[in-house]
Amino acid sequence: MTNLNYEVTGGCLVLKPSRRIDSANARAFEEDAFVLVDKGPVKVIIDSTDLDYISSAGLRVILTTAKKAKAAGGGLTIACATVNVKEVLTVSGFDSIFGVHDTVEAAIASL
């Protein structure tokens, strides 16, 4: 049972966090994401449509989720980043490491 919105589509696990990933909820995100990656699929997409902000604590759990997915033979990428989230992803360099896609379909195709 997780509080994190998700769906499995096109052989990928699409995580859809809402509003913010920050120090208040990063741990909960990580725990939920790890449970879901354990169940599979291990190709993970962070659908950022409903996300306004990612703090450094949020970046950290996206990284740990990506490492877990990669260790399981999958990967992680990001879709539908809003302007604010895109800025955080650019400053942190996450855009070049994980890729940012305009649509979930494009993200699925990239993994």
Partner: protein, 305 residues
Amino acid sequence: MTTSNTPLAATGAKPSDESAAHIAALEAEVSNLRAELDDLSLLYEVTTEHGEAVENQLADANLALQLTQTRLSEELTEATNYIFSILPAPRKSDPRTRWLLVPSTELGGDSFGYHEIDSDHIAFYLLDVCGHGVGAALLSVTAINVLRSAALPMTDFRDPGAVLSALNEAFPMEKQNNMYFTIWYGVHKRSTGELRYASAGHPPSVLCKTGGEVLTLSTPGIAIGMMPDVVYRAKLGEIAPGDRLHIVSDGTFEVEIAPGEMLAFADFVKQLSANEEPELLLDWVRGINGPGPLPDDFSLLTIDF
């Protein structure tokens, strides 16, 4: 409760067998009550003594706790003093520097430095270890000491890309208790005015040109230690006399202007470029944040060329 020692049989009346039996039963009951009273008195004494012993133990434990707290807070102060002691004094000669570092808790993960690599090159750097507290502070001073003493093998410290790549090799998060850090590192060459810089997951530095133009300086690349084998590359900029460079950490501008709405970096840059003194910027950010400590360390290093 009162008891009488007068035997019930000594009333003068001749007891019948029945009343004798009744008296005997009453006597037995009284004797039981006396025994019970004795037991209760004893229990009361023992409990009182035990209570006193517990109180004494509590007092001892409290004293021990106070001593431990005093020792821990002294050690924390000692650690804070050490961190501030390795931060360089403001430079009085060109380029001049001013700085402000305000940890959000007793110990933060931010630190910075600058030093002359040789007579023509001077390096400026500011780093931010994820998280706060003792662990983050330990990694922060370790990394800053490595930079200060040029302790990375086969690395040209005049090349920011090479420095960040070498740091990434030296500090993988898996070997640093899962901590990593962001950094901005720049080298100014006096003879030509060139500024070479590279950043790793760090907010851009802000260059205010004498003519009024404001540039943000950063390069792509994730934080040091996150991923192995990352190659960082430097960019080249130009510094003219009179230019002013601000190097910041994200805690300097990541405050909420309304619930759930963060201060935009562009608005921060506007305020930063209009401000002469680091303290004024801190006041402005504190004004936005409201009462209480800032959510993250506030660090600002300003260099006047």
